[in-house]
């Protein structure tokens, strides 16, 4: 009797245990593993982490709504602290973690290095934040990009100048004397190259062009040259330190052009405005990824995004990078949910199905992969510092304020 009972208990126990293990195992296999490759430590950690937070929010939302093809999405992070480590981490994610795809990367140099690895292993690589042309211009069939690229920077800058700023100033665009200054890495040089092309198409008058190393400690000779050439409109493509240095030195030397238009994070971040002084940066223009002072009719969901961000991370977003990563990540994961399976070729082919018009995502961008798998509906926003806040002023349907010119 006792024996029989014992036997029963043991059998039952093993059954329960086996089911439990089996259950665990099925669950572990069933999760959809996605690599998240960002610089999470080192010099680029601040915006790298900001970008990663956007992807995390996208994954949270997808999982709340039933995951991808019924399975929970799990993010496996890789820390792309430099180019070598980006390659190493991409290899680890692919061979050890066996991720279905890699999302990243914020930094163009890291993206270019790591996406090469993904292409060789035929694992889809989705770039949500790096802007250099070369990310998509290398004929890599598994590399997609949802965010706007360097050419979009230049295009928006020149269009905003021609369509909005010049009319507001009451001067014909061709009569404005334009000076281009930029830091001399791949980023600054490629934006400047496109600025020249678009400016020439519009018949604008570029009177000066100079580049400098981003680590420069003195820009007074550039300010003197701009003054000497009587430049009306300064286009600067820069990181944070050189943005601060230029705006300070221009102000201190009493140089007041009709407009300063910056490109990128150096001009968008509040710490820059704090360093330069809000009265000095007032009126300065900036073209960048979508920020948060934008018309919600053009960017439906942006307010909900900020609420979700604050709830999850306990602070307001530090830049628009999280928003751009969120929108890109969410669109791709939603599309994967519709796909038949998660093999690399299916994922790759499914991407042609994405067709989201401009003005319908939380960042205002549309998504449709075109030539070289670059999102041809990616757009930048034109913004202006007004009373201590960076507000969207261009294009008009996205704007929340009118352009202010200081004559």
């Amino acid at each position: 009797m006792l024996k029989k009972n014992n036997f029963k208990t043991v059998t039952l126990g093993s059954l329960v245990l086996a089911t439990a293990i089996g259950g665990l195992a099925t669950q572990a296999v069933a999760d959809v593993k996605i690599g998240a490759l960002y610089p999470l430590s080192g010099g680029l950690a601040l915006l790298g982490e900001e970008s990663y937070r956007g992807l995390e929010l996208a994954v949270d939302q997808i999982n709340e709504n039933g995951g991808v093809q019924g399975e929970t999405v799990v993010l496996e992070t890789g820390d792309a602290v430099d180019n070598n480590q980006a390659i190493g981490e991409a290899r680890r994610l692919i061979s050890q973690e066996e991720v279905k795809a890699i999302f990243g990367t914020f930094s163009s140099a890291r993206a270019i290095a790591a996406s090469q690895v993904a292409q060789l292993s035929q694992v889809p690589y989705f770039e949500l934040g790096a802007v250099a042309d070369d990310v998509t211009e290398r004929d890599l069939s598994y590399v997609f990009r949802t965010n706007p690229a360097a050419s979009n920077f230049a295009e928006t800058i020149i269009n905003m100048l021609v369509e909005s700023i010049a009319p507001e100033l009451g001067i014909a665009p061709s009569e404005l004397r334009i000076g281009i200054i930029h830091e001399d890495s791949n980023y600054g040089s490629s934006v400047a190259k496109h600025q020249r092309t678009f400016a020439e198409q519009e018949g604008l008058n570029i009177v000066m062009e100079e580049h400098y190393p981003a680590s420069t400690v003195d820009m007074s000779s550039i300010v003197l040259s701009l003054q000497d050439n009587e430049v009306d409109i300064v286009l600067q493509t820069s990181y944070q330190d050189d943005s601060v240095l230029f705006l300070r030195q221009a102000n201190e030397r009493g140089y007041q052009p009709k407009a300063i238009i910056g490109a990128g994070g150096g001009y968008s971040m509040t710490p820059t405005a704090n360093a330069v002084g809000h009265e000095v940066i007032d009126g300065v223009y900036d073209v960048d990824f979508t920020q948060f002072a934008i018309n919600p009719d053009f960017a439906p969901g942006v307010e909900e995004f900020v609420d979700a961000y604050v709830e999850r991370f306990g602070e307001s977003p530090r830049s628009g990078h999280s928003l751009m990563n969120y929108v890109g990540g969410h669109a791709i994961l939603s599309e994967l949910d519709q796909a038949s399976d998660l093999s690399a070729t299916t994922i790759r082919d499914a991407m042609t199905g994405i067709d989201i018009p401009v003005g319908t995502t939380a960042a205002g961008i549309g998504i449709k992969f075109g030539e070289n798998n670059q999102n041809e509906r990616a757009i930048m926003m034109g913004m202006q510092w007004q009373d201590g806040e960076l507000v969207t002023v261009y294009p008009e349907e996205a704007s929340v304020a009118d352009i202010r010119t200081h004559q």
Binding site: S41, G42, G43, L44, A45, L46, I181, D184, E210, H211, Y212, P213, S215, T216, V217, D218, M219, S220, S221, I222, L224, S225, D228, Q240, D241, V244, L245, R248, E252, R253, G254, P271, N274, A275
Partner: protein, 293 residues
């Protein structure tokens, strides 16, 4: 004419800033024979300290000199005693690697603690512009100019007129002979390293109201500081001062007439010419160079 005047003033202001950063480096180089690749990072630490003390105590940035300079002096002594001194009998390359390693460690320590954010020391009126004829300068720049002259003069007096100064110079001339004369060479090395780092501490305090600081700030200044030290003659303090002014002027003029993209070509071109025609530097002499190598 106005333009020329502006360029000269800009060049001198930039030059005296470089001079402040370079003086400590040339002192350490000349006396202890250590090439201190972490020099810029000591400056970055000094700027961080200035920022922290200024914001927490709410005092004028210049008042932080009383904290920052002694702290950096001590830091210098500790580094010399526990990092450089134990390596004194090993190959020179090992010492170089040690300071490079120290530099990387310091940058990453700050990245770990403070992230890659920029910190702005309040300008406290030091960014006010002064009209100097056609040129404009900041009050903080004028202070840097004056202090660099005092610093160079003060160090010169210290090295020539005091007992400690003479002991330091004796050590520089011949370590073994100095030791035989009863000079405690390792103590001299410690004090010299401390003074060199304290000098860059002064530079850090004066620079802080004018430049934001982040973990990488030291890197922006240190390469040009090495050029200045070599150009002025290894270990020559007056040489470093004049070389810094020359580099500042070349930077300003080349930046305007050749463009910012080519100004480094001019700076390093002149540096190469000096190396070819006066390998011991503008103000160094062959004896010193032979001694260093």
């Amino acid at each position: 004419m106005d333009l020329l005047f502006s360029l000269v003033i800009n060049g001198l202001m930039l030059g005296s800033l470089y001079a402040m950063v370079s003086v400590g480096l040339t002192l350490i180089f000349g006396i202890t024979k250590v090439i201190n690749f972490a020099h810029g990072e000591f400056m970055m630490i000094g700027m961080m300290l200035t920022y922290i003390i200024t914001t927490y105590l709410g005092i004028h940035p210049y008042l932080t000199l009383v904290f920052v300079v002694p702290l950096l002096f001590l830091l210098g002594i500790v580094v010399q005693k526990y990092l450089i001194e134990p390596l004194k009998d090993s190959d020179e390359h090992i010492q170089i690697f040690a300071t490079v390693g120290l530099s990387i460690a310091m940058i990453n320590l700050v990245l770990m603690l403070a992230g890659s954010n920029n910190f702005n020391t309040p300008s406290s009126g030091l960014r006010e512009t002064l009209g100097l004829g056609a040129a404009t300068v900041l009050t903080g720049q004028v202070v840097i100019m004056l202090c660099s002259i005092f610093m160079v003069g003060g160090l010169h007096l210290f090295l020539t007129k005091t007992q400690m100064g003479r002991a330091i110079r004796a050590t520089a001339q011949n370590r073994n002979a100095a030791q035989l004369m009863g000079i405690n060479v390792s103590r001299i090395n410690m004090v010299t390293f401390g003074i060199g780092i304290a000098c860059v501490g002064i530079a850090a305090v004066l620079l802080s109201p004018l430049y934001p600081v982040n973990a990488q700030t030291g890197q922006s200044f240190v390469l040009i500081a090495f050029v200045i030290v070599v150009m002025g003659g290894l270990g020559s303090i007056a040489g470093a001062f004049y070389a810094a002014l020359i580099i500042g002027l070349v930077d300003a003029f080349a930046g305007f007439y050749l463009g910012s993209s080519l100004k480094d070509v001019a700076v390093f071109g002149i540096f190469l010419l000096v190396l070819i025609f006066r390998p011991s530097g503008l103000f160094g002499n062959a004896r010193k160079l032979a001694h260093v190598s």
